[in-house]
Amino acid sequence: MSRLDVQSLTKSFGALKVTDDVSLTVEPGEIHAIIGPNGAGKTTLVAQLSGQLKPDSGRIRLDGADITGLSMPERVKRGLARSFQITSILPGFTVLENVALAVQARSGSSFRFFRPVAGDAALNDAAMEALTEAGLGDRAGVVASALSHGEHRRLELAIALATNPQVLLLDEPLAGVGGEDAEAFVARLRRFKGRFAMLLIEHDMDAVFALADRVSVLVYGRIIATGTPDEVRSDADVRAAYLGEEGEEMADA
């Protein structure tokens, strides 16, 4: 059974079909990448999968169970977590607190009013572990707003890891990250391969072809091709959709 099974998802904003009959699966342990030009509807798709937006029609199943009607927190509880394209953190909290909250969300009730949470070793240890895995262990005590852009991206990842996902939706985790940072990030994601399934939305073609088991190409809200990286790279429709610079980049990758 697929971990994540999306069937005929459709979403329109007025006359504009931003998600047009999208079906896809994410298999256990798989990294399924979604690429597509700007405005293809990638982020809208993630928003529907994560529960932020309601699709007009279609079904989303997680491990066979229909989750189409569930809210974002309910989906997270079932193991479907996401990271944001535009960093979304608690700016006034420390890095550790940001992650500890994600741990707290899945461990015990948060209707506890008296015991100080700051000294909760179980939360802090698990948070530290996620931070270390995301390559941010040495910044735990820093207030999150003081981090650099690259560090923010790693904090996004650490928070997502701390929710203990079964399926992780990564919305352009490399946005704005370049050079060595990007390479390190890709290496990190590769280490998580097999631990949980990932749906990777990404512009960075090097990253996509280095990581993905399967690639789907989204153009104008429609999936025009799905296959192994090699199949997709040689697909004539895909080449046509990626005319110009990105098309060349794709051929080179």
Partner: protein, 331 residues
């Protein structure tokens, strides 16, 4: 709701928090020595004024719990002050004079009202939340205006203060003062614990970034509503004490002006600090006393001071003190 709270606020860092607790302890110590000083100065009436200030400090602190830490600007919190005062008046007219029973009554009614109106208000955000809490506050206000059995608009004089286990110790102004101070200290400790608890961290997280909290698995509504109810209950306790101080209850305690004054106290002291709300209540009410003695047009002066405060120290007295360095927490 973060779209309505203006000043960017960092979550309280541990050293800053510790410092604020210290300042609160200093305030409590000053409050504790006030009555003997007042007697020595030959001005025992000061104790009664101070009791009123302490009761408002409790209410302001309760409001800060949701306004400062939960980004919920309730413009109807005077309703809970009113429920507290009328719990004293109505229960005592039925022969229930015990302070704790009256407090229980105030808390039960306030929790029920806050649960229902909060659940509706929290469907909205920002300025709509402010307006809808105001509307509910006014509904409570007009209910008591029309409650002619208890004087309606004119209010209702209490024949005596509340008793504690059958004893009328509260008839002594000094005792009432220290009982009120005891409640302030205990409730401050409770609020401080709540803010630093698992629950408090979730509440503050929702203030900081609601979407992020949903994305890690927290549905904001239930946490915000719980905080709203807790805040309402604490405010009603302040009302019970206030009725005893004034020995009189009237709908004036729950008018929207009163709700506004509570917000002013919190802003004045520095939102999201608890200690600041206490200081804000003290300063706002003392200013009202002094400026009121100075001129009939005191609200003008008060307004001017408030404008200057918000312009030059958006974090209120707390921000002012922390900026002087005298009170700055060691890093």
């Amino acid at each position: 709701m973060s779209d309505v709270t203006t000043a960017p606020r960092a979550a309280p860092r541990a050293p800053a928090m510790a410092m604020r607790v210290k300042v609160a302890l200093i305030l409590f110590a000053l409050f504790a020595v006030l009555p003997p000083v007042a007697v020595a100065l030959g001005d025992p009436f000061m104790v009664l004024i101070a009791t009123r200030i302490l009761a408002y400090a409790i209410a302001a602190m309760a409001l800060d719990l949701i306004l400062g830490f939960g980004a919920m600007v309730s413009f109807g919190h005077a309703a809970y002050l009113g429920f507290g005062t009328y719990a004293v008046a109505i229960l005592s007219s039925y022969g229930v004079n015990d302070l704790l029973l009256q407090m229980l009554g105030a808390v039960v009614v306030s929790a029920a009202f806050a649960l229902v109106t909060g659940a509706i208000s929290l469907r909205t955000r920002g300025v709509y939340f402010i307006m809808i809490t105001l509307a509910f506050g006014q509904m409570a206000f007009f209910f008591f205006i029309s409650l002619s059995a208890y004087g309606g608009d004119d209010g209702y004089g209490l024949s005596s203060r509340s008793t504690i286990f059958g004893s009328d110790v509260l008839e002594n102004d000094m005792t009432l003062y220290y009982v009120t101070l005891g409640f302030l200290i205990a409730l401050f400790a409770a609020c401080h614990r709540i803010v630093g608890s698992r629950f408090g961290r979730v509440l503050t997280g929702i203030r900081e970034n609601r979407e992020r909290m949903e994305a890690v698995g927290f549905p904001p509504f239930r946490y915000q509503l719980t905080a709203f109810v807790i805040s309402a209950c604490i405010t009603s306790l302040a009302g019970v004490l206030l009725a005893n101080q004034a020995e009189f209850v009237s709908p004036a305690f729950m008018s929207w002006h009163r709700s506004g004054e509570l917000i002013v106290m919190v802003v004045f002291g520095g939102i999201g600090t608890l200690t600041g709300a206490i200081g804000g209540a003290v300063v706002a009410l003392l200013l009202e006393e002094w400026l009121g003695a100075l001129t009939h047009h005191w609200p003008l002066l008060f307004g001017l001071i408030l404008v200057l405060m918000v312009l030059f120290s958006p974090r209120g007295i707390t921000g002012l003190l922390e900026r002087t360095g005298l009170w700055r927490a060691r890093k």
